[in-house]
């Protein structure tokens, strides 16, 4: 078992692998390494002063809080929408199904101004929230609304296939054994859907952490109040404070990568679970 494992007989190994690695390095790895280098120009004390400044802390709180809230809303309603799309037949169903993908396809600047128009004080929905004392646009809620929009497809698209593949005999068996629909949901459907729902939550959360375009229009961008972390990076860049921007980026990236790792694990778990039940 020394060298020369069988790679395969097809030609082009060197060319394709070489190009892949070179292009990956030039386009992704070298550029990302500038972050580490740039932020290492700071001493620990300087970096800490930037990363843990009250304004930065406020922006993390908003970014993580609103992202978690948005992902939470998406889990509840995403499972609901996935259930409706997978199980019920109603006129216009395929149109609704296509609608779910729109947040993926719509440029973020467009979703930003559209959501702002709808949820501002005079907007179609905002005007009905105003009398209830709810200010949607230009507040914490506005940020959460935008993040819900962009994360919306993730839960639905991870849960829907699981529901479609689910063996209906399980539900029939539960019913025959005397379970009501609610108990069947709680004891049979919920455990089957749980891994996919958690994966969807994590995907939606990870996407929301870095989101910029759709949020900047609706948030109002008030420092300490409605300033998300990516916007704080942008502000630092506009002041040519590259090291400061890089330091905050490293914090944000670190969180994203931890999440991505967790998602990988979750997906493996989902595959194992659905493989076992189906």
């Amino acid at each position: 078992m020394s060298r020369a494992p069988r790679r395969g007989v097809l030609p082009g190994f060197g060319l394709s692998t070489g190009f892949t690695v070179l292009y990956l390095s030039l386009v992704v790895l070298v550029p990302l390494s500038t972050l580490a280098v740039k932020s290492s120009a700071l001493t620990w004390a300087q970096a800490w002063a930037i990363v843990a400044s009250p304004r930065a802390i406020a922006s993390y709180k908003l970014t993580f809080g609103a992202s978690a809230a948005a992902a939470g809303v998406n889990v509840v309603f995403g499972v609901l929408v996935a259930w409706v799309l997978a199980r019920y037949r109603f006129p216009g169903r395929s149109l609704v199904d296509a609608l779910v993908d729109l947040p993926f396809a719509l440029p973020t600047a467009v979703s930003g101004i559209a959501l702002t128009a709808v949820y501002s004080r005079t907007g179609w929905i905002g005007r009905h929230l105003e009398p209830l004392g709810i200010q949607a646009a230009f507040s914490w809620l506005g940020v959460a609304i935008a993040l819900t929009f962009i994360g919306l497809p993730f839960v639905i698209r991870t849960v829907q296939p699981v529901l479609e593949d689910l063996d209906r005999e399980l539900e029939e068996a539960a019913a025959v054994l005397g379970a009501g629909r609610w108990e069947t949901f709680r004891r049979v459907l919920f455990p089957a859907v749980l891994p996919a729902a958690i994966t969807g939550f994590a995907l939606s959360f990870a996407r929301a952490l870095g989101e910029y375009g759709s949020v900047v229009f609706i948030s109002g961008n008030m420092p300490m109040k409605t300033e998300i972390a990516p916007l704080l990076i942008m502000t630092r860049l506009e002041q040519y404070d590259y090291a400061g921007a890089a330091a905050i980026s490293v914090v944000l990236l670190g969180a994203s990568f931890v999440l991505l790792l967790a998602i990988n694990r979750l997906q493996a778990w989902t595959r194992a679970r659905t493989g076992a039940t189906a």
Partner: protein
């Protein structure tokens, strides 16, 4: 596997005998299956789901169209043929025309390498390809500035030669390439993995050269999957906002892409024009979705046809 096609269709299980639908027959409810929800629950949940989707997707999209056409089609059109808007359209198309083929080429090479050979470090390579998906758009733009900006690694070298990357078109292209990097590879890798390599090995044994193999066997097999990836990649390339915003410098008529033009107009309170340009991007999203659904439908049917021909 064999009863996969009998899933959702029999869920509605109509009354077996096709009796003439008289008023009385319609009034008598058919027996509910044990794994079916009561009608009240069904309608309640459906309405709740539709309400959620309306509030977050349908109504905002309708708002784009309504706001764009608020003062009539003539003014909508005027906003689109404005010289700055036309320059933004041209730049957006140009950027996508460079970034998408580059990433498509990368996607093909990466998928070929990853699915056709066995070697160490392959799974690490696959994870690294996904990396740009986890990077905030603002950070994606920022790394371009850190490389090529005036204080960046290659900044002084570029300045000496009078080349401008950041706050110019090359920077916009680079940031877009970074952001749209994984799209084609993400589609091709699982697809080519599932296809296996028998056909290519056969062609190889029969004496096909590498180029013939690629053109005559691989490309025809993966073309729809490739197209799918290219469509998604293109949508993101044309719609990217955050990354491009960092590197563009927002010079009207020169370094303004369509999404940036939307922002400039909006911040100047030129709402009608902003929504007019936004409606163009909305149209792009619709075309993308229709193309995506068509391809998914095609693949679905191709799979079923293949299954039918295997099991008569």
């Amino acid at each position: 596997m064999s009863d996969a096609s009998a899933g959702p269709a029999d869920a509605i299980a109509p009354v077996p005998e096709r009796a003439p639908v008289s008023a009385r027959a319609r009034a008598r409810p058919r027996p509910r299956r044990v794994d079916e929800d009561p009608p009240l629950v069904r309608w309640g949940l459906t309405l709740l789901a539709l309400g959620f989707l309306s509030a977050f997707v349908l109504v905002p999209c309708a708002a784009v169209v309504v706001e764009a056409l608020r003062d009539g089609v003539r003014l909508w059109w005027t906003a689109l043929v404005d010289p700055d808007a036309l320059a933004a359209i041209r730049l957006t198309v140009l950027v996508a025309a460079i970034a998408v083929p580059l990433n498509a080429l990368f996607g093909l090479a990466a998928a070929w390498s990853i699915t056709r050979f066995r070697y160490r470090g392959k799974s690490a390579l696959v994870s690294l390809i996904d990396l740009p998906f986890g990077v905030s758009p603002v950070i994606s733009g920022m790394v371009t500035v850190l490389l090529f900006g005036a204080q960046g690694w290659f900044g002084p070298w570029l300045v000496e030669r009078g080349w401008k990357v950041v706050f110019a078109v090359p920077g916009i292209v680079l940031a877009t390439v970074f952001v749209t990097f994984p799209f084609v590879a993400r589609e091709l890798i699982p697809f080519m993995e599932s296809q296996g390599l028998e056909e290519e090995e056969a062609a190889h044994v029969l004496g096909a050269s590498g180029w013939q193999l690629f053109m005559k066997v691989t490309l025809p097999n993966v073309k729809w999957s490739l197209l799918y990836g290219v469509i998604l990649c293109n949508a993101r390339a044309m719609g990217e906002f955050g990354a491009v915003s960092v590197v563009s410098g927002h010079i009207r008529g020169l370094t303004n892409t369509l999404p940036l033009h939307v922002e400039i107009l909006y911040n100047e309170y030129a709402f009608r024009a902003a929504f007019a340009v936004a409606s163009l991007l909305f149209l792009l999203a619709l075309v993308t979705l229709v193309a995506k659904k068509t391809l998914e439908w095609r693949q679905h049917h191709a799979r079923h046809a293949a299954r039918r021909s295997v099991t008569p």
